[in-house]
Symmetry: C2
Subunit: 368 residues, 2 copies
């Protein structure tokens, strides 16, 4: 029998933690009273089991549970269901880690490009990378394309749609992708330096597929997708069907309190094929702890079976004046994404500000 | 300009709540400093705005935000992104309600069958309805089919797969659906009373579609789907593509702390087409408050544009001895789902226990 191991933090009184851990193991496997499990084979081979309970601070325990691999049947959606399905409904349970045995892990190809693939496309084998977001939504296609061109001329590596940009009347998907892709191509011809436009793919699975086809036909190589918005299984399908795209994964709808951010964004997104997980940086608009951000970046890059390392992309209230500090913390295998802070300038000043960002990253990269 | 209204509970000090509410409105629309929004049209028509801030208990505020309908572009995935995308990443924000203006609501057909359709299929215009789950997973196809037959002979209305049952080697999807559908048909011929088998559809969108086709071809009319596991947009696609199914929606992976259960299970699942949302009942294995359960059932049935009412299905540690109490609380437009507690009996005793459940519900139904 093969087992995968899930880890949860459970808030509990000391005298009830053993029973609560056992209840969780049953909930995540047979989901019925053990008395109703009469077949010894099922008791031995299907019922999940508590592997360890360790104190993890006041009133909190770290619980490892072993779940039978055969219950997952090698499938993405069923993996989610078995590792954090019903127990997600318990208020005082946080899902913090998962370890998959090699045969199950091999069912998940993970990032098709990862850090090495992104560096190859950008012709940047060592330095830290840069990204900017086009916003605010509401701008016309022509305005977005002009901003895209400016960022590419400024030397930014990856220029992405704001994740709020979808297929609105003010910047319809097809017209936008065509114009922004042309704009970035123009800039690349002018500068001789690679740069990529990453449109936001969002929609139900049928819409996602149509938009992915359109983008591919327009020569797009990078895309932005929010796996929790489109659904983790739909994200997996998309990566399998369009493996040539580099996937920037956006954290929207990630409601991370119940799944630890290093696990959701660092490991699970990567497992399903994210090449570069975007996450909210410490000290910005979101209250993520620096330790969590460090753990997330480490998880994204750590050796894990045959999975390619994915490229951490800290974002969310980033500022130019923090470039040195952030690259000192995250190291060079990082893409810094600065959104709104770049946009405090406009016109020629925006170009200069983009160039300043690129120069700061290059300078910091030489130092780290 | 048309606006939708979202409501959040935000934990905050009194002196910072105004700024936090404003920051949330910006986060859920243009997501950049207001200084970077230079176009007055975008400021007027795209930037979300705080409509009201009301105290909601100690250190907590209820905040209504108006979001421009045009940012949603009428799409399911983008709706999720705009109403609880990035702000899901803020720890002290809970998403508790959404109100859609008529034109936007009309883009969502909602349940295709709802309470009336389910009652018509079952030939049960007034009484409360019953459901049982086949478990534990690990049983063979023959064992599952036998249990399905027993429940149908016992008079249960809807017999569903346990939500942990997917396409495992011990009960592969196609063989299971064929056998259980045949078993329920046999029982219906014997009793003359309608009963339905609801297989669990789970998978990436491509797999979901294949399984839905197979089930439809086998004559299946009810299915079980966990919308948060497969992804809300994928659920919407499935309902649109297979409108003849009655959809039981399972709460797995619903991690409900950050989205209020009445909103997620009562409203959003219904909006996307769930005919009958299954939810965890108060006083069972989950710590849901009775008030939340009542609000959830009320939301599932409440008048809402042209959406059909959906049928509340309380579940999760239900017991036969609570039938009277629960029907007194929820009323007759309810389907009671008892899983493990029925399975404390086996063989002939299981048939008797199913009959007892059915009789109790009929008796309680006559009283309510």
């Amino acid at each position: 029998m093969a087992w995968l191991t899930t880890t949860y933090l459970i808030d509990s009184e000391p005298e009830t933690i053993a029973a609560r851990a056992e209840a969780l193991a049953i909930e995540q496997s047979v989901e019925c009273p053990l008395e109703a499990v009469r077949d010894q084979r099922i008791r031995d081979e299907v019922v999940a089991r508590v592997a360890s309970i360790t104190p993890a601070g006041s009133g909190r325990y770290r619980v490892d549970v072993e779940i039978a691999v055969q219950t997952v049947a090698g499938e993405t959606a069923q993996l989610i269901n078995m590792i954090f399905g019903n127990c997600s409904l318990w208020e005082n349970v946080q899902f913090v880690d998962v370890a998959l045995p090699p045969d199950l892990l091999a069912r998940f190809p993970g990032p098709r490009h990862g850090i090495a693939g992104i560096r190859a496309l950008l012709g940047a084998p060592h330095r830290p990378l840069t990204s900017a977001a086009m916003k605010p939504q509401g701008m016309s296609v022509a305005q977005l394309a002009a901003m895209c061109r400016t960022f590419a001329l400024g030397g930014i590596d990856v220029i992405k749609d704001d994740h709020g940009i979808a297929d609105q009347a003010y910047s319809p998907f097809e017209a936008r992708v065509r114009a922004c892709q042309a704009a970035v191509n123009d800039a690349v011809r002018a500068t001789g330096k690679p740069a990529f436009y990453a449109p936001h793919l969002i929609g139900t699975p049928r819409v996602l597929r149509e938009r992915a086809r359109f983008a591919r036909d327009e020569g797009v190589r990078f895309v932005l997708v929010a796996p929790m918005v489109v659904g983790l299984p739909a994200f997996r399908d998309l990566v399998d069907e369009f493996p040539d795209f580099v996937y920037l994964a956006h954290p929207s709808f990630g409601g991370a309190a119940r799944i630890a951010p290093p696990l959701l964004f660092g490991k699970l997104f990567r497992l399903l094929g994210a090449d570069a997980p975007i996450f909210v940086n410490y000290g910005g608009r979101f209250a993520y702890a620096q330790d969590d951000c460090g753990a997330l970046a480490a998880a994204a890059r750590a050796p894990w079976g045959d999975l390619a390392p994915s490229l951490p992309v800290p974002a969310g209230g980033m500022r130019l004046d923090r470039v040195d500090e952030l690259l000192g913390f995250y190291g060079p295998d990082t893409m810094l994404l600065i959104g709104g802070n770049l946009l405090l300038a406009e016109g020629d000043a925006l170009l200069a500000r983009a160039q300043e960002f690129v120069a700061k990253v290059a300078g910091a990269g030489a130092a780290v």
